[in-house]
Amino acid sequence: MEVLGLLADGMFVAVQPLNLFLILVGVALGLFIGAMPGLGSVNGVAILLPVTFLVPPGSAIIFLAALYYGAMYGGAISSVTLGIPGASTAVATTFDGRPLAMQGRASLALVTAALASFVGGTVANILFTLFAPLLASVALSFGPPEIFALMLLAFATFVGLGGDDIPKTIFSICLGLVLGSIGFDAISGAPRLVLFDHTGFLQGIGFLVLAIGVYGIGEMLWTIEQTRGEVTATTPKITAKGVAADTKDAVRRGWKGTTIGSFLGFFVGVLPAAGATPGSLMAYGVTKMVSRKPQDFGKGHPGGVAAPEAANNSASTGAMLPMLTLGIPGSPTTAILLGGMVIWGLVPGPRLFVEETEFVWGLIGSFYVSNVAAVLINLAFIPLFIWMLRMPFTILAPMIFVLSIAGGYAATRDMFDVWLMVIFGLGAFFLRKFDYPLAPAVLAIVLGPIAEPTLRQSLLLSSGDPSIFFTRPIAGPITVIALILIFLPAFKLLRKRRSLA
């Protein structure tokens, strides 16, 4: 096996003292950066890019990859402990991670997140090692109609699942879609929905602004109202027995989500249009759909933590693939990595795997090593994260508020976004009081801006004929499945009515 030989060489490169040191530092920094709201892997990699000029190019990219990995793990930490998504990729982790923490089972959520991340990363690495060139060609066969079909499927998983109130879910999706369409139109370049003619709306509504508003501020208000300021969070204790039980529970209830997240996340990550955030949201939706107890999701199901965490790690590895093989970044972070590679004299693109074998396999080797380092460092720090939760909510709440504001500002350095975030927080609080699910709105603001241009590009391709979504070999089956999922609840409803009559 030539591949295995190359990989062994690559791992050997990764465990050279300098590289191993860089991996450990990178992972630790990444964990911290990922856990700080507003400081996602994008900012982390951008801030630390200059540092990498001090070491050889191979080591530099290994460092940045380790940082990227660490940030994917770290995102879960604040999602679980504070309810603020540490990075946009960890938004779906708050859906179930936060309820678990509120029930005093934060350690279960964190252990599940760490293990799922590890499995997701490992699965992605193996897929990457074995099928990189093949997957690159799969990514190329996804044109606008295929991407749109996939987005439709993602929406369908959120609508077509039982448990939630479907009209309210649809309302929530529509709200997200409208918010997502604010700003410049991608196809015509014309400004849309510029409310009150305020120029701040021209740049559109940042996803992180909505996510921090809804989950940071909205959640904080909700908790305060529920508890009336009383200390209700159970004091979680860490014991060896408890951790062992958590691990067992995590494996038992999270394996399905982990499996789905690992594979789906990788695949979505490979598509240049998507990336880790849509990947994690889709994995959550699919896992909830296939679960035997979908009604438990959103109330603290470990599967709801495992799926997005496995997916975001897997997708972040997947997103490296189009960058390395096609020279097209699959995510904003990889775009920065791409800039770094160009200055180091490495030309990403179809020739990289042939001409720079040592670099490519060194990088892949470092993915494996980073992944192991990240899970170990993460598990070691869990008691520290849990300790934060022992603080009474009266102290935690202002901390969450400050972190949310700072995080919202850090992402774009624009006060307008901070005000917007506060408004979203208040809006989310009231929507929640009226029992509207908020996750679909968050999903829609992420996927809407991908779905809309691809829909319009597809219809331009076919001169306005919607059959393009059914006749193409890849888009066709995906569209059909999506439509079945969307109309499934309607059929069920009809049958129920008939049997009643």
Partner: protein, 323 residues
């Protein structure tokens, strides 16, 4: 306080600094916080690649006391960036990497109220040519053969680009007019996405900058058919130009850095020096060669004159397109 010899010297020096002419002080302007390095395009395309490259050179050679922080604002064909930069409350710390949408976007969207002559010229880093590319599986090897294929497709020939009124669409519109072609044009959000969909044969041809298509060209997937430069490019000696085909048309994308409106002269001078140093660096000169950009160095006055002629040119080009 008794005046010793030493602190007398100190006081005298302080006095010298305090009373030295303002202009001399102004020369000393240096950034004291990170610089907002706005890019008029999304991540991954030609403009973004260049901005990231410039930032990396500045970091690598430690040329700035504070970092350039890339900030992609590609929305609305760069309108988002123009509004952001012209509305900044910190003009000394806001610079913009431009492409030709710097000229076309204010023309196409007059309601934005952008007057580009209020911006501060900093540096012209070079101009990027355009090339017509097809996928090797199409079997097309010459421009003439391509024209025949497009005509035979009768309106079903699909090309991708970065949007109506954008650089590549101007080139495509010129070709369509000159040869009577009927092309279906699909807009994408960046040159990188366009090249990717040509590689996957979702679209049949593109007009991309060499930098965006180079990887696929070197792998043998893309075939260049025609260059829109004044002369044949050294990296593509076998590719004819549109001028050789008897049409007096060439088109380049400007890769220029401009400062926000209202930038102080001292700051403008600082950025002028900084980008001159970057322009003259071995790295940038190497980039110009490897990515087939043409050097086109200009001082501030020449840049303003260039803006005026480019606005007039683009007015005519857009009018010809019916925009």
């Amino acid at each position: 306080m008794s005046i010793t010899k030493r602190n007398f010297v100190g006081l005298a020096l302080a006095g010298l600094v305090a009373f030295s002419p303002l202009s001399a002080l102004a020369q000393e302007w240096k950034p004291r916080k990170p610089i907002d390095f706005v890019i008029m395009a999304g991540p991954g395309g030609g403009a973004d690649q260049i901005a990231r490259f410039i930032q990396s050179v500045a970091e690598k050679k430690d040329m700035t006391t504070r970092p350039l922080v890339p900030n992609n604002k590609g929305g609305g064909s760069g309108a988002e960036a123009l509004i952001h930069v012209s509305g900044t409350n910190d003009p000394d710390y806001t610079i913009l990497v431009t492409l030709n949408s710097f000229f076309t976007t204010p023309l196409r969207q007059p309601n934005l109220g952008i007057d580009i002559q209020t911006f501060t010229p900093v540096a012209m880093m070079g101009v990027d040519p355009f090339v017509l590319w097809v996928h090797k599986d199409s079997g097309i090897t010459s421009f003439e053969q391509w024209v025949e294929t497009v005509k035979a497709a009768d309106g079903d020939y699909v090309m991708g680009g970065t949007g109506k009124g954008q650089e590549d669409s101007i080139v495509i519109a010129y070709m369509s007019n000159a040869y009577g072609l009927d092309i279906k044009y699909i807009p994408y959000d960046g040159g990188g996405a366009v090249a990717k969909d040509l590689a996957g044969q979702q679209i049949m041809a593109t007009v991309n900058n060499p930098a965006e298509a180079k990887g696929f060209y070197e792998a043998g997937d893309f075939v260049p058919l025609l260059a829109f430069s004044d002369e044949r490019m050294p990296a593509y000696p076998d590719v004819p130009t549109l001028k050789e085909k008897g049409h007096d048309f060439s088109y380049y994308n400007q890769r220029a850095v401009v400062g926000a409106p209202g930038m102080s002269d001292a700051a403008a001078a600082y950025y002028g020096d900084l980008f001159t140093a970057i322009y003259e660096s071995e790295e940038w000169q190497g980039y110009l060669t490897s990515e087939s950009l043409s050097p086109l160095w200009m001082d501030a006055d020449e840049q303003r004159a260039y803006w005026t002629t480019q606005v007039e040119n683009h007015k005519a080009l857009l009018a010809a397109m019916g925009e």
